[in-house]
Amino acid sequence: MKYIDYYQVLGLGRDATQDDIKKAYRKLAHQYHPDVSSESDAEHKFKQVAEAYATLKDPEKKAAYDSLGSHPQGQDFVPPNQWQQHFHEQSTDFSDVDLSDLLAAFAAAQRAQHQERARRPYNGQDFEATLPVTLEQVYAGAEAELTISLPEYDAQGMPRRSPKTYRIRVPKGASDGQRLRLPQKGGAGFNGGRAGDLYVTMQLQPHKLYRVSGRDLYLDLPLAPWEAALGAKVQVPTLGGTVEMNIPEGTVAGRKLRLTGRGLPDSSGRQGDLYAIVQIDVPVKLSERERELLRQWATESRFNPRSFPGAAT
């Protein structure tokens, strides 16, 4: 089991009062709460802060935590003997025990003792997870696997973490940030309590070719100067396979060419569009013949791409 120094997480000394603990938590909650923070690892940081606060604000949990002694942050440790006796634990392996699960189980057991050892059922905790999905999976529909470490109770009531893998159907047309609920697939319940739920958020992964705007896709389409000037037929990659696109004569850079129905589907099956944005590219190195032809073009053309009305001369 890894030791977490909850006082250090909140930036406090071991002599902190309840008032200090509350103040420190509030300050950090405003900084890292995943619903209000824009920091990239806010969710992970807030989880630690919330766990620290949940332990230190509760006098029973705090006393239980303090009785574990002080260890360096993240160090592997084994709880003292009285803890092991409390759970009638024979095993000396605590590697799959999570400190916050252990404290929650300990507090629940303490409460049960106060209630004349009533074996009250305790419902399991809800868990949240993120499922990365690709554009290809959303375009065609797919199945994706999600592995998450969840607490389960052994025969002695010791909460032990074990990895669970769920196969989830990603429906055609799922969108970024869409959520789903897996009933009773969260943390296990205790004493006959029901398991918590697992909430999963789809997170659309950036694609190396396409950018997403609602149901539409945007793709940069590089053209050679002669293709843009003369017009051409070019092959364009789409999520459904390569298609031929007609480039009209005189196409300028930045022009958006639409491929209708080649975007993402919505939940009713309607397809968005794919927009190819023209970029005009030039060879970095020219052969002598290319140079000669371009010079000839420059000499014969009257085209002036620069017109700055009102500019000082």
């Binding site: 619903d35 209000v36 959520r179 950018r211 705007s213 930045g254």
Partner: protein, 109 residues
Amino acid sequence: MKTQITESVWLNASDICSFEHVVEVSGLSPQELHALIDTGVIEPSNDDPGNYFFHMQCIVVARKARRLRDDFDLDTQGLAVALNLLRRVGDLEAEIADLRARLVSSRRP
């Protein structure tokens, strides 16, 4: 490790659930849910206060409300302000992402 094939419930705008279900899975009290309906933050899909129904996506907002209530000690008025502002921030972020998608990315440094 065994892989479990599992049924999931999409929290979307096409399926419907009851008032009691939102209370059960969100952790809000019935009074708090009523108060959030009164402020317009959570909108039922029908107009019968005695028997409200909701689109499943309301569960996402209701759970966010419960998190904010627990983590910041907010009352329902505070929750309504926070949730409305968060919705506006979310809409603006989505609009920025849409506009960025339409910009040509630079292919060469």
